[in-house]
Symmetry: C2
Subunit: 196 residues, 2 copies
């Protein structure tokens, strides 16, 4: 055991945390999501780009609009979750850089004037922040159910715009009955890590 993080926290965030497929009725409050964001906003992104944007789907009306774009296999659990978050990345993140990197007021124009450069940076750094968000949901003692099975263009048109790309949709709540599938295998260390 070479980790400093205590076992209970390891279990909460990784070892016993599982992708939930059912949810209880217990609501997820805005206060909980604020607490998640106030933690995970500190996770590192390149040049502090911070391109993650989150759309919360809570009302029955908004949920119906979301379900229309989810893959068949994801509809039942998404209908059941008390809160669902659409995680997206902002291709116009550079507009916020004067606030985010005040020491480099020209970075927005010098490094990120090209849309293609921004799209590539936003895809990577938005995904990093999506992972931090999943960890943050678990840190709040809630189960997360991340999904990439949806009609991307439909979802974008319904909830976002051409400057925002969906990264994933995450059901959030307390687990309901029979919430997990059996844990799937992982690759052994020696098949993943090599030394140059």
């Amino acid at each position: 055991m070479s980790l400093l993080l205590d076992s209970a926290s390891q279990n909460l965030l990784f070892r016993e945390a599982r992708t939930a497929n059912t949810f209880s009725d217990e609501p997820v409050t805005e206060g909980q999501i604020r607490a998640v964001y106030d933690l995970i906003k500190y996770g590192p992104t390149a040049f502090n780009q911070s391109p993650l944007r989150v759309v919360l789907v809570r009302t029955p009306e908004a949920r119906e609009r979301l379900l229309a774009h989810m893959a068949e296999g994801n509809k039942a659990k998404t209908a059941m979750a008390p809160l669902t978050a659409i995680l997206a990345t902002d291709y116009e993140f550079h507009e916020e850089l004067p606030k985010l990197v005040p020491f480099a007021p020209d970075a927005k124009d010098i490094h990120f004037s090209e849309r293609r450069v921004r799209e590539e940076a936003a895809a990577l750094n938005g995904a990093l922040q999506a992972a931090y968000f999943l960890i943050g949901v678990r840190a709040a003692g809630l189960a997360a159910g991340p999904m990439t099975g949806y009609d991307t263009e439909g979802l974008r048109k319904e909830f976002l715009d051409d400057d925002h790309a969906p990264l994933m949709v995450v059901n959030i709540g307390r687990p309901g009955p029979n919430p997990w599938y059996p844990r799937l295998p992982r690759l052994p260390y020696d098949e993943v890590v090599t030394t140059a």
Copy 2:
């Protein structure tokens, strides 16, 4: 305070964790990296794809080969780190799926026969795992210094192959003298999270 994760762990992983720019001489052991991987391998990926691959750069010879491809501003700190990890994603991850999703032995051919589909999935899911890796390094009580400033093609040719794309390079170690820049601002909740 709506989080279940205790404050010390919040600080270790997010609030007080910082991107290190200098490192002490204290070595990072293989045991520590094994412990990091044995924790973060449980982080979720779509369909358990698990495309992250890690190349550790430890010897002076390997470090020289790495430095040749790093951006000028990243060379000094990369020369100083006791261990540097090249995080890459595997575009041929589908070859491992029979092991990773044993309930769907045909998934490899049904869903992932197209390289373009695999590249897109590997980019997103590899980035999620890269974020888990950064959290894991912090969980080990070590400082991480993630970087995307390098010659991508040069790095790929030197340490990887055409089936693996670099995601980031991460310096790992105990912080050295004056290791941090001042904490940069983050976007407020209401500019990031909206409700549909």
